[in-house]
Amino acid sequence: MTTDAFLAQSVVYLGAAVVAVPVARRLGLGSVLGYLLAGMVIGPFGLGLVGAEGEDVMHFAEFGVVMMLFVIGLELQPSVLWRLRGPILGLGGLQVGLTTAAFTGAALALGVPFAAALAIGMTLALSSTAIVLQTLQEKGLVRTTAGQSAFSVLLFQDIAVIPMLALMPLLAVSGGHSGEAGHASSTWISGLAPGVQVLVVLGAVASVVALGRLVVRPAFRALGRTGLREIFTAAALLLVIGIALLMTRVGLSPALGTFLAGVVLADSEYRHELESDIDPFKGLLLAIFFIAVGASVDFGLVAADPSGIILLTVGIVAVKGLILGILARGFRMGLDQGLLFAFALPGAGEFGFVLFSFAEQEGVLSSGQTAPLVAAVALSMALTPLLLLLNDRVLRPRLGTREVADEREADPIDEQAPVLIAGFGGFGSTVGRFLKANDVATTVLDVDSDRVEMLRQLGLKVYYGDATRHDLLHVAGAAQARMIVLALDTPEKTLAVVRTVQKHFPHLTIFARAFDWPDAHDLVEAGVDHVYRAPLDSAARMGRDALRMLGFRAYQAQRSSSILIRHDDEAMRDLSEMRHDEDYLGEARSRIEAVEKILLAEVRDGGATRDLGWDPDSLREDFGSAPSE
């Protein structure tokens, strides 16, 4: 593609998105539907502006999914996966199993050989992670029971794709088809024996895992030392594109490969950094993906056999929806939640394109079989947001029982920590350890890649990332967190994060560490309510111990140091208001004297202390003895 053609295509895609999405939103249709409609309009069967050949469009589409699955993988820590195992395996397993069985049976009944029928059944069991999650997110329904269940099912499907892909070459063997010569040259493994192909597939998967575990982390740590942000973005893109290329070379889905890489890196300290680097690309490519799906609806085929394709599409949606409805009943969802669940997942998914083309390549299915199926998959995907819209506008309002998303307890999907900690040096890490010991989850960000590595080896959950970036705070969960602890190395950085947080996440309560009076004043002035002058507490503790060493009673020394801390905090706040006044120093001096006076009163007999209950002097005068006994 020449530069000119590339630019022209970009203009068409971006223009379509920029025009269609606001219009769709205005009409209450949601962005996904907007993209899909835009795709249909600019596609080969609309204005014909892009993808005169369907292949081109699909090529675009696949990279959108690649990016998205990488980010989904990143959000999917193995531990979260483990906690969701019940709904994933139960609900997801049943959905995929039952739907596969139903469609395989239907295909067999229509006279399709078993291997081909199974390939069709498996592929149609999948739904579109991209469309469903994006739409649910937009409607704020991800946290409902149905949203959670849908997520679990989609997750199982995403994982089920791996054995499905591995199964295709084996089906080709048992099905007795020979690989079609036309595709043999596209990837070198097609020429290998089926057994070796499976080995190559497994080897490729293993190499992605090894890459994520052994190569990426040290490499990123070295990059972190450069302190250059764009190098990270470049490295993140390099990683995703590199894996996609590797997977394509061995004949695997690049989306699967990057998804795997994402999961492998989900536990790593670079998770948030990677996510925020990839996120804008993902968003843009996802938009292109949705447009491409819209454009890939083969209206030519639909026009040639409208009743057949429509019947196929409606059949797919109806059968899947029915099974989902039965599962919703079986898993005791309420009526409204069951309906939402059944209306979210009945479409086919983008993996359908991948699996059908792979099956065709492997000779399990013929192109005559896949063409109408692919058309039906695309149509049913386009139907998904429409179905959710129907549920939203027509069915839900008629139901009495409604589950409100906000009333639900925090769900296990986003294991969202209520506390973010920025800066994990001695101060931040102590706060973090203390919170952890009290069973409070924290998400920690630090920019020192060596320190992050070391802390990780100590078993602490720390992520590499610059907390002054609002996109990074966002992926670290700032929108859901309740507070942020600022323990950064310099006052300037602390103030920068304060401004970012106040602008983008005003709901977060800020706890900031200050070094001394001037930056404590800066923070108070910037509107931070909780400012901690770091030297104060340890100085007071040292003073307390010094008193003990000099022979003071321990409790008296303790009280005295506690009183110092309390008054010092008050003085810091009051003085912040008048720091620009002429007599700041005079006021500061009188405050210091006031604290001294109070403390001295504790020490000296007959001072101005209020704690007379312990002071026997007045009693001796009054009674001649203490009141008790």
Binding site: I563, R610, D611, L612, S618, D622, F623, P627
Partner: protein, 203 residues
């Protein structure tokens, strides 16, 4: 009509079932102040001036706490030591609390049967609270017999459901000035059934 100050002292509130239920049921009203001492003074640095100010503005002072070793939790004792100053609460010139009520609201792990001369604790709770009663006397306060929840270890959720309305009844009664007509020589505080309540209504 009386203004009620609830001095609440519980060092392990998060583990208490009965006090959590009671405190969370306390209604918001101007003449009722809940003062959670362990929440206000985790460092035991009681603000004497502030506490005396609070006392001045109320007519009834409730000591609500679990009974620990037959006595009040340490912070409430600290509060007494520091706030009830000589020359303010008692002694010459110490008349700030004269005529106010002091009412213990106490929970105890043992059963009512355990708190009597033949029980394993050998004394009633009112007898154990003699230092508090004497404190009230010395400060010129009127002491009401304790209002008690016995056997907290064995309380089931239904028992607590039954106690909460009785507790709210106690608060209402005190706010309505009921203490003026209370029987003061009992071992426990007797709150009369609310007049005008329909028969069959559980008080």
């Amino acid at each position: 009509m009386a203004r009620v100050l609830l001095l609440f002292a519980h060092p392990a509130f998060q583990k208490s079932r009965i006090h959590r239920s009671l405190v969370s049921s306390i209604p918001e009203r101007d003449d009722l102040t809940l003062h959670d001492l362990y929440e206000e003074y985790p460092d035991f640095l009681v603000d004497v001036e502030r506490e005396q100010e609070l006392l001045t503005h109320h007519d009834v002072v409730v000591f609500q706490h679990p009974l620990y070793w037959y006595s009040v939790p340490p912070l409430l004792k600290q509060w007494m030591d520091l706030v009830l100053e000589h020359g303010w609460a008692y002694g010459s010139g110490g008349s700030a609390l004269h005529g106010k009520w002091l009412v213990p609201v106490v929970s105890a792990g043992g059963t009512e049967a355990a708190y009597c001369t033949v029980g394993r604790n050998r004394r009633t709770i009112r007898q154990f609270l003699a230092p508090i009663e004497q404190t009230a006397f010395l400060c010129g306060m009127r002491f009401a017999p304790p209002w008690i929840v016995y056997g907290t270890h064995r309380l089931g959720p239904e028992d607590i459901q039954e106690i909460v309305p009785r507790y709210l009844g106690l608060l209402d009664w005190m706010l309505d000035g009921g203490l003026e007509h209370a029987a003061l020589d009992h071992e426990t505080l007797v709150v009369p059934e609310r007049t005008g309540s329909t028969p069959g209504e559980v008080p």
